[in-house]
Structure formats: structure tokens, C-alpha cells
Symmetry: C2
Subunit: 568 residues, 2 copies
């Protein structure tokens, strides 16, 4: 394609509020443009990348035996009411009414829609398994759309849904999707990890996330240095933490005057013990569909509360911070909260504290702590996994050290089990003629997000660095001086010859200065450039690798062969 | 593909409220499924057809030099307010608010969005022309969604927008799109006509519709039997109508007592004249953005009012029928309305009545008509093209007879001129450094609608009849008896061999009776079937053409060659 015809408006100015390289460079290089909060247009270059991603996703999904379809983006609310998610999905679910006051949602995911589709159509175990997928629009009304394509509101997703007659067959498909997704992200050229994950609003009995490792990732993931264990920090487990420091000795439940000792640091200092032997309390306001209540979470003083784990323990829609006033109102003493005074208050304790002895904890009384507390004789249900696993903690599988990295979620596969099929009464007849709810899996890839992920994984301070698989063009030919007829003629001729060889060339034939053209090449980031410039008289051309900006002088007589060998 | 794996739930029951073959058969054959009013899922077979259509559309658009992009489906309302269409587009424009109470619309078309995109990016005539297009979702909140995919609410559209520095260049692109669209619809295998059309809510200085001829078309089109003139009835013109019958003689404006003569038929009978010499009045309530008013339209007694022409004459958003009570209230006498008593009422007269003499018209007085009325001395602006052209009327270009057909609109190309660019202040600098608003064109194809159009154009009482271009499969191999191992083995072997030849085969390997399989073949309508049945022992197979259900016996030893020759 000739650059003079390409619609790719480049700019030197960063988009406002942009902090991530992908947001900045994709916008500046004319791949995407924001049209509203969390709403993006894909310009021709962005669209080309998107199509390449879609093709690879489709090829691998088809190879795995899934069938492509398109579900209506606009979904009647009734389906969401049937599954129960209409009320619990929160404000991300955009609800609206049509001209006849009927209620609809903009589909943020399509479990309900797909179940309504197969219900009463798939009636026998003989018709199973079945895997249907689409690559289509989604909308999630994010509270704070940001990071360009990484957290936008309208986006393109590959969502697949599978149906099975039993748990084992669901597991087989889940494993197949694990392989299929791995193949997709490998083909796309990404460095990724598969991690255990929280199932969030989708739910189900187990899920894995595919994370591309990047410095700017939104997610923290923990990976074992020794074995294959890897997990999102939201669900990461660890071998039970131990401490070699001395345990504080004391009689059972001695009450100590600890004036102004409110923080865990102060407490450990005061008693000259390791924070490991203290218990801290975090109080949250838990929001449910029709009510809210305060919940206290107890963890070791040396640990941090993992919010998603706490949310799941509380089985709430949302957790909000509680302020001191609120604490006092329910009879808690800020800075000194402990097991005392919790009669009417729900509380959970981190599972590692079960049966722990001789601990120090607040007395729920100003300037007093209790020493020598044993965490025993409590209901099993009180104990939950609540702590945020840290780098350096030990692997639950093998005991080796865990390493923390930043990742961006690009895929997520779920074993839904019968969650939705039971709610929506979607049954089939099994081998014994008995009605059973479908076993379901669902599998998502954030297709439009991948365009940004590719750049987060590969950029420098000048702009994008596309890999060969995703780059819209294989080669950028730069005509240094449009007034030099010989150079122009040569470049056009070479361009035509390369096109015939199946090489996708962008010929920069714009009436622009050489500096502008080189800057645009570096900003747009196609893998290679060939400059036809001042040494052309001596039959010399300059070949540039975008990745490291390494330059090489090529003789005109071997240029065709060299390019064919290098760029494809 | 093996039928046992394909998700294509067929049914014998017609979808409720379905009247059109495409709606009935596409649903019954498992190509599409309705999920709500005017909302459809495309199942795997429907999706395959859709993809074939998209590919052809994309190939031809790219060949014409247009560049593909994707505009955000959700569009900020501000853009629509800027163009002025937010208030005038009517209820088809679905408006909603997000969680922050910001206003958006579901894009029914994207003139505003594309202008906002290129504005301040395309700043010089040197960057023109430019043509950008997308194949994306649209939503129009139809008052009465019906006819399956033909009048649904969420649909897939190819919409392209071109930008030019002058009228001539716009005309050049318009002509190019005329050719491109003709090529697309030819490749898709449609019998179509290009007709003059009303520009509707899109507006602009001229437009052409592409109509596929079908018995069940929503549109009436008139085509000259002699020359190339063709037009949608909404805008069709004719040579001025003439009448050889005698003109009624009378003194100027004689008042005649015509008791109970209210209809044009009764009037013509009463005076024993041709209806051509009478004038009838149709009163409509015209709805505007902030007001409504009654308007009287006068046409010959032998003609019918064309509603779209009347709407354009009134420049209103909508025309509603006026009832007798309303007429009386504004001083009109139902059944006897004429030019008398219109002092404060807006009225228009069909242009063919200009300077007409000795006409008969109501006296606006019960049981009285005026005879010998001359339609003279009226302001030019009163005269508009108002009548519905009929079959048998004469062509405005050559005078030959016009023929009426039914058509379905599949494409529409518009010369928008500067309508939107002026409203949105989208300018470029011309050769003289002067700011000018872009000259725009826009070009639409109803992509998902084409799936239905293909069936409206080709079906019989048993089901769909796909042409080779759009059919999801080239051949349907039917195993008559799954218990006959020899037949099953032979069929599987043939299936594998044909796949290697690049033939798309659906192998019906379901444990179903032969009758069910044949019925499904006829309902789904792939071009050919090969039955491996009872004569297989004698090395005979049965080959069926779906189009005419013609059967042919094929020897197994020549089957591969025969199929390769026939189906591709």
C-alpha cells in the first residue's frame, strides 16, 4: 500500500490521561482513536492487526472442533433475570429500555443467551458435547475506563461456551481449551503464563487465566521458581507461613495496657516480638443485593488482606472500607479490635491462624491488648483463605520460593459446571433417560485488548515494535526524497516486485521530509524499513530493523533476495 | 463436516408471526434464531453464509481503494446533537445513559462518528479523496420489527463514507461505488436493479438504491420497458399524464348541488366525466420537531398520493392521517374539501395540475362541488410532485410504459454533499488555502439482510435453495442407513477424498431415518445431495440437484470425477 493513500493520522502529542505505552503509541501512530470514555475506533492499521488476531483465534478454535456463531449483542433482560445475574452483576451491566419500554442489556458476556439458544434444542446426551463460540462486541460499563484498550467499555471478545453430559467430559474440553489457548498465544508471539484465577462474576468451579507478562500489567501473579505452580494474587496459595522467632510467652488472655499502640508495627515494637505473632483486624462494609453489613477479617500482623479472597469469603457483591465512626457505632474500638465484642458481628479468620496459640490481639478497648490468645474452639466456617501471598512466600506445591510478576489477562477459561444450567432449567436426558442440567464451560479471549497487549509486551521510547505475525506490513520502504525521479522510479519498481512476491509493503511516497518518515516508521513500528536515500547513486540502500534500530547497507543487486530472506 | 457434530437444530414448526419464506425457512433450517423482537442469533450455518457475504463485500470494497476500519458502535450523543440529528432522527435512534448519566446512542448509521474521526486530521485537499468503510453492528429501534432478518433491529451493515474536495470528485466516487456495488451483487448471484431513491433521514443531493427483485419485496419499483429508467415508487417520476376523454364544460366556478357525492367515483359518475378531471384532497397531520399542523394535498381524482413525496413536500418528520372531527375543527368539510376556506391552512398541489383548467373540486360545503375551476395564479411553491406513479404510466425519459415490480433494498449509495460537514464544521483547505467543508458520500449494504434476501430470491415449498456462492456446503452426502457398515465405510472414505479436493461436504452421519435426512436436505437447501442408499450394492448412487430436485443415478466408479465437475 502507498502511504499517501493510507489513513493513519500520526501525532506528536500524547492522548490526555494516557499513561501506558500501548495507549500512547497506538493513538499517536494512528492505529486507534478514542471517541468517548472507554470507547475506541479502530483505524485501518488497528483494524489490520485486529483481523490478524481474529484469524488466528478462529483457526485454532475451529481446529478444536468449536463452531462459530453470532449472538445478538442486545440481550433481553428477562434472560438475565432468569439466571439471577440481572440484580447481582452490578453497574457494569448496562441496562436500557427500547421505545416500547421493554428492558434490555448490552451483553457483557453471553452465558444466558447461549443457554437460551441450546435449551430445548439439545435434549439428549447423544447430542453432546457441543462447543459454540463467537467473536463479537461486548460492553461493560466500567467505573473508571482507562489504559486505552486495556480497560475500555466496548470491546471485541472471543467467547466460547461448551456443553457436556458429565464433569469428566467438561474437564476434557477444559484441558483441550488450555492447549488451544496456549497455541493461540504462542502463535501470536506472546510470553505468557497460565495461572489459577478467581472466577469473579462468571462463577463456576474452577478457572485458569492466561497472562501475558509485561511491566505495566494490571494483575499481580505469583509463579513458583521450581515447579509449574502459578496463580493470580487474587487466589494464590502458599505453604503455611512459619516463623523461627520466639513466641511471646504469657498467661492465657492477659490484658495489657498499651497506650497509643495502634498499629501492628507499634505493637510488635512494644512487645519486642515478630509481627507474625500478632493478629490484626480489617473491617469492611459488605454490600449485598438487598442489604449491607460490617464484617471483620482477622489475619496475622505480618500479612495483608487479599480483597478478592475477602469478597469471596463474605460472598458479597462489593466490599467498602469502613470508617472509624462506623466502627464505633457498632461497638468496635478502632486500633484495638479483637475477638471481644463481636457477638452480633460477622467475622472471618485467616485459615493459617487456626489452632494458633499465644497470639497478641486488640482487646476492643482503648489502649489495651490481649496477650496469650489461642485461636481455638471456633466454628470451622470462620476460617478462610484471606491473605495476599507475597514474593518470597513458599509454593504450596513444592515449597520453593514464589516470584511475583506483572501480567495482563488475555484469556480466561472456566468450568462453570451446572451453575447457569440449573438456574435456567436447561436440561438434557442422560443415558438412563433422567433429566440432568448441562455441565458447562466457558472460554474468553479479549481480542481487541490483544492489540494493546502486543505493544505493552514490545515497545521502546520511540514507539511500537510489532512482531512479524501481527504487523500490518512486512516492510516499510522509505523514499528519502520525492523530488529525485530516479529514486522514486526505483522505489515504485521494487514495491511492485515485492508485492508480487507476497510481501506486504508500505511505500512511503508522501511529500514529507525524510525525518518525518523515519519518525513515523519508528512510531508505527513495522518490523523493517528500507531507505532509498543518498547512497542510491552508489547502488547502496539502508535496511533498518525496528527492534534494535540496527542498520545495514545492502547492495541494490541483492536487495530482492535479501528482503525475501529476511522479512518473511 | 459431519452432520452429527453440526449445531443446526431443524424444526417442523414455523416461527410465530412469520410470513416470509426467508424468515420461516432460515429459522426452521437452523440458520438463525430469534432471541427478542427484531433480535436474531446467527447459528453456525447462518454465520457461514454471513462470512461468505462479508468476504465478497470486503474484497470489492478493498479493490475500489476503500480502507476498512471499525467505529465504536456506542456513540456519544454529543456528536448527534452537533449534526442536529439527535432531535430529528425519531424513535429509531436508541438513546441511553451510562452509569455516570452521560448520554449515548446505539449507532444506526455513522456519519457523525466518521466526521468526528477525520475532522482536524484531514486538513488539506492533498489528503483527499478518502474512503473509509466498516462492516459492523447497527441498531434501529423499528416501530414494528418483522419479516425476520429483513426488518430487524440489530443488524450487520457495511457502511462506507467518502470525502472529497469538490462535487466532481464525489460524483466520480459515487459512480465507482455504483460499479462496485453492481459487482458485489452480481458476484452474490442476485437479480437486481438500481433505482432512483428517496434519501430519507440520511439526506443529501441524490441517491440510488440497489433492489433485488423478489415477489415479497417491501418496496415497489418502477422500471421502464424501453430505456434504463428505474425508480423506487417513493420518488418515481412519469411523463405528464394525459386524457383523451372530454373535459367537462362549465362556467368558471359554478356551484353544483351534489347530494351525498363524497367519493371521487361518485363524483365522476354524477358528472359523467373521467376522474382525470376531478381534484381530490387528502389531509394529513404533519409532525415537526416542536409542533404539528394540518396540511392539505391536492391531486387528480385518478391518482394516489405518494406518502414519501408528501412528507418531503411538507418537510415534516412524519405524516399522520387526520380524522373527520379534526377536519371540521379547522373549518374543512369532509368529502367536499376544495380550494375554498384554506386561508390559514398549508396546502400543496400536484405539479401536473399546474395551469390545468375546467376541473371539478369540492366547494368545502356539504353536498356542493365547484365545476370549471382553473388551477392558476397560485404561488409556484404550492406545486410539488405528489402522486404515486403506477404501472402503465409513461417513462419520464422516453415515454414508454413503466412496469412495476417488488424489490428488497440491499444497498443504498448517497451523495451527501456538504450536509454533515457544514453542520459539524468539518473543513479542509483547498488549493487556494481557503477553508471548505468536505464533500461527502456514503454507501451502505445491509449485510445480514442479504442472508434473507438470498432465500427470498430462491426457495420452493420445501425450503431454501442456496446458490453455489453462498451455500455453506457444496454437497450433502446422505448415508441412508447407518447400520449398513459397508455404506458407512464407503461414505466416510468418499467424504475424506472430496475434502482433499477442496469440496465442502456435509456428511449426514446422524442416526436418523432416511426420510428425516432427505427432508433436512430439502429444508436447508445446499445445492446438491448424494444419496448412498439401497442401490449401493449395484454400485449405484443417487445424485440430487436441490434446485429442481432432479435425480440422476451415478456409477460409483465415476462418482469422484462427476462431483468435481458438477459441484465446484
Amino acid at each position: 500500500m502507498k502511504f499517501s493513500k493510507l489513513y493513519a493520522p500520526t501525532t506528536k502529542e500524547n492522548p490526555k490521561d494516557a499513561v501506558l505505552p500501548s495507549h500512547i503509541f497506538l493513538t499517536r501512530a494512528g492505529f486507534i482513536e478514542q471517541i468517548g470514555s472507554g470507547l475506541y475506533n479502530f483505524l485501518p492499521l488497528g483494524k489490520m492487526v485486529l483481523e490478524k488476531i481474529k484469524t488466528i483465534v478462529k483457526e485454532e478454535m475451529d481446529k478444536a472442533g468449536a463452531q462459530e456463531l453470532n449472538l445478538s449483542f442486545i440481550t433481553p433482560s428477562d434472560l438475565w433475570k432468569e439466571s439471577g445475574r440481572y440484580s447481582v452483576f452490578g453497574k457494569e451491566l448496562l441496562r436500557f429500555k427500547d421505545r416500547k419500554e421493554n428492558e434490555f442489556v448490552l451483553g457483557p458476556t453471553h452465558e444466558e443467551a447461549i443457554l437460551s439458544l441450546v435449551k430445548n434444542k439439545i435434549t439428549s446426551y447423544k447430542q453432546l458435547p457441543l462447543h459454540l463460540y463467537q467473536i463479537g462486541l461486548k460492553f461493560r460499563d466500567e467505573a473508571r475506563p482507562r489504559f486505552g484498550l486495556l480497560r475500555c467499555r466496548e470491546f471485541l471478545m472471543k467467547d466460547g461456551y461448551s456443553f457436556h453430559s458429565n464433569e469428566e467430559d467438561l474437564q476434557r474440553e477444559f484441558d483441550l481449551m488450555y492447549k488451544t489457548y496456549s497455541q493461540i498465544f504462542t502463535r501470536l508471539g506472546f510470553d505468557f503464563r497460565v495461572v489459577n484465577a478467581d472466577s469473579g462474576a462468571i462463577g463456576g468451579s474452577g478457572s485458569k487465566e492466561f497472562m501475558v507478562l509485561t511491566d505495566n500489567g494490571e494483575d499481580d501473579i505469583l509463579t513458583c521458581q521450581n515447579c509449574t505452580y502459578a496463580a493470580n494474587i487474587e487466589v494464590a496459595k502458599r505453604a503455611k507461613k512459619e516463623c523461627k522467632d520466639e513466641r511471646p510467652e504469657a498467661n492465657y488472655a492477659s490484658r495489657f495496657h498499651t497506650p497509643n499502640v495502634r498499629s501492628i508495627e507499634e505493637l510488635a515494637d512494644f512487645f519486642k516480638i515478630n509481627k507474625f505473632y500478632t493478629i490484626k483486624a480489617i473491617v469492611k462494609k459488605a454490600i449485598y443485593e438487598n442489604e449491607s453489613k460490617f464484617i471483620v477479617f482477622f489475619i496475622r500482623g505480618c500479612d495483608e488482606l487479599q480483597e478478592v479472597k475477602a469478597l469471596n469469603a463474605a460472598n458479597a457483591l462489593e466490599l467498602q472500607d469502613a470508617n472509624e465512626e462506623e466502627l464505633i457505632k457498632i461497638g468496635l474500638c478502632p486500633g484495638f479490635i479483637g475477638f471481644v465484642g463481636l457477638k452480633d458481628i460477622e467475622f472471618y479468620i485467616d485459615q493459617e491462624l487456626e489452632n494458633e496459640k499465644q497470639m497478641i490481639i486488640g482487646a476492643n478497648e482503648k489502649d489495651y491488648h490481649l496477650v496469650g490468645i489461642d485461636v481455638v474452639n471456633l466454628n470451622k466456617n470462620r476460617f478462610k483463605d484471606l491473605v495476599a501471598v507475597k514474593e518470597g512466600d513458599c509454593c504450596i506445591e513444592c515449597g520453593a520460593k514464589l516470584k511475583k510478576s506483572k501480567g495482563i489477562e488475555v484469556g480466561h477459561i472456566f468450568k462453570l459446571g451446572q451453575k447457569y444450567s440449573k438456574a435456567m432449567n436447561a436440561n438434557f436426558l442422560d443415558e438412563n433417560g433422567k433429566a440432568q442440567a448441562f455441565y458447562m464451560g466457558c472460554y474468553g479471549i479479549g481480542v481487541s485488548r490483544l492489540v494493546a497487549v502486543a505493544i505493552e509486551a514490545s515497545y521502546d521510547d520511540k514507539g511500537c515494535i510489532w512482531n512479524k505475525i501481527l504487523s500490518p506490513f512486512d516492510l516499510n520502504i522509505i523514499i528519502s526524497n520525492m523530488k529525485d525521479e530516479k529514486i522514486v522510479a526505483y522505489a515504485n519498481n521494487l514495491y511492485e516486485n515485492l508485492k508480487k512476491e507476497g510481501i506486504k509493503v508500505l511505500l512511503d511516497d508522501r511529500n514529507e521530509r525524510f525525518g518525518v518518515k523515519i519518525n513515523d516508521f519508528e512510531l508505527m513500528g513495522f518490523p523493517y524499513a528500507l531507505v532509498i536515500g543518498k547512497n542510491f547513486e552508489e547502488n547502496k540502500l539502508e535496511f533498518i530493523q525496528r527492534k534494535d534500530l540496527k542498520k545495514e547497507v545492502i547492495d541494490t543487486n541483492r536487495v530482492l533476495e535479501f528482503i525475501k530472506k529476511t522479512v518473511l
